[in-house]
Symmetry: C2
Subunit: 301 residues, 2 copies
DNA sequence: TAAATAGTGTCTCTCAGACAGTATGAG
DNA sequence: CTCATACTGTCTGAGAGACACTATTTA
């Protein structure tokens, strides 16, 4: 793919920028936080009788500076000397969404040497889950160009090999990021290797169209964690409004897990996690559904 | 507890040392790795007929410099400019154990501002699991004073409170660290809070007798992770030699989980993870046990 | 033969998957 | 009445907890 080189506000190309950038002034790595801010929103259906579908959204920011000028990155920034890493993550979260009362969890710290072409950067990634109904207000109109992207995540080419006591499991994760005007995609190869007594999970960036840095790897890691954790914790409720129907809750599980669930089994499974109210949905074009709220007395083992 | 202040090689007390230390030369946090190196070893029984018991061991290093001079810390060190964070962890692991072909996993990154009295330090913790039979050789006779400690971990004062939609769960984790000559202990308070839409797990150091820095918090976190992960992955086999009996395997599970398991259920559960050999233990004073090895074709979901 | 561990058979209970069947409001 | 979704009942099979039972070696 041949491209006309992009120029930043000083009129420099990425190449020129990197030549004038002096990394030697840094003797130790810079520490940044990168935020994976997820929400689930309704996609309106054409038929008034049909329920809206849900889609999983991720917040990305368009880069206005080198490197990766014009590409989309996770919101994030440097950890300053007088704030904790958690606080830096909270600060970034607030600056992008105006909300700070949300679920936030540290995910993984990315410490490869050449992650950032400017200089050595160690990035600590965090996942935040926000309820879109209490959000809507902001995010998407910041000074920086922040936008929500529909996220799809699918596995391909799963391949398992064993040789003696060694085993390896490889697969490709293809992700797409889309909204009204933009479509991006990325492919990450995940390798779970076990050789001798050693055991390791690694991931490689195979392709990244429009996603800056190694952020596609971070996104893959986060979705995997989200998928795992939704099965045995209550994190899904951080994506729900105060009152919700069990069908809505089921849809949130489905869109995160990327598969359909059986209503009867689903209701049994989450029965202890919710409390029923005596309110119902209205004007639905079909039988109204009871509204539930999260049961704070529920506890996972 | 009143103590005579310890002095380092320059003859400075901790207080004097900190006064002469100039943190202003550091504009960004230092990044370190801290290693939690676990193994499981036999504790010999007095009765020849009885099987040896297993105990969970953790490697600690005696600090020879300020701060926390004379206390015990996790092995670790700074991440240099030209190595990845993973590589730094591997380097530390090798320098303490002479082994590098082991299971290693990143755990959590600790980023509070005042973790280290010298200056701002962000520490990335890693867990390594080593098989004691292939170890024995080294570790314990380094230049630095590295020793294995028996680790016990117990929960106390579990307390759950709910107010409206808010819920909190608090408990104390008491840990002891002991070997032939030394006994240390620490207490960590874990708080799982859910207020409004926000949800967070925090831990505080309540008491730390002989464990340096916030390392007791790291240890508590690691044991919790280990306990969780042994239930649904194959990590336990990283603590086993090539050949082992099912009773030995069960003992490793028991010492990590801190509870007894029923043999029949345990054998059913791990049946798919092992392959039987036609070898047996000998001279046991009772019925010989079949030896098994790990089945590399096993996969967890 | 006793002590001690190795290993199996089987009952019960729980829980998830599957699927058929009933319930209900809008138009 | 029909559509579309809400919600329930129940069969099945997998798997964990519990516990009694058999097997095998050495001193």
């Amino acid at each position: 793919m041949e491209r006309i080189p992009l120029r930043d506000r000083q009129g420099l190309t990425e190449e020129e920028f990197l030549q004038t950038y002096d990394p030697s002034i840094f003797v130790r790595p810079s520490v940044t936080v990168d935020m994976l801010i997820f929400t689930v929103v309704d996609k309106q259906e054409e038929n008034y009788r049909k329920l809206p579908n849900k889609s999983l959204k991720l917040l990305l920011v368009k880069r206005g500076v080198h490197p990766y000028l014009g590409q989309w990155a996770l919101p994030g920034g440097f950890v300053t000397h007088d704030e904790s890493v958690d606080d830096a993550a909270l600060r970034e979260l607030r600056s992008e969404t105006n909300i700070d009362n949300v679920y936030m969890e540290q995910l993984y710290t990315w410490g490869e040497v050449n992650r950032d072409p400017r200089t050595r950067v160690v990035s600590c990634s965090y996942m935040a889950l926000v309820d879109s109904t209490s959000l809507e207000l902001k995010a998407g109109d910041d000074a920086a160009d922040a936008r929500w992207f529909d996220l799809t995540y699918s596995l391909h080419d799963e391949k398992r090999t064993t040789q003696g006591n060694d085993a390896a499991n490889e697969y490709l994760v293809k992700m797409t990021f889309s909204n009204d005007t933009i479509i991006l995609d990325a492919t990450v190869k995940v390798m779970e290797k076990k050789t001798g007594k050693s055991s390791r999970i690694e991931s490689d960036l195979i392709e990244s169209n429009g996603i800056a840095f190694d952020h596609a790897k971070m996104i893959q890691y986060a979705v995997k964690r989200l998928r795992n954790k939704i099965e045995y914790t209550d994190i899904a409720f951080n994506l729900m409004p105060e009152l919700f129907t069990l069908s809505e809750l089921q849809q949130v599980y489905e869109v995160i897990l990327g598969k359909e669930l059986l209503p009867a089994a689903f209701r049994r499974k989450i029965a202890g996690m919710v409390t029923e109210t005596d309110q119902f949905t209205k004007d639905a074009g079909h039988r109204p559904a009871r509204l539930f709220r999260f049961n704070p007395n529920w506890r996972f083992i």
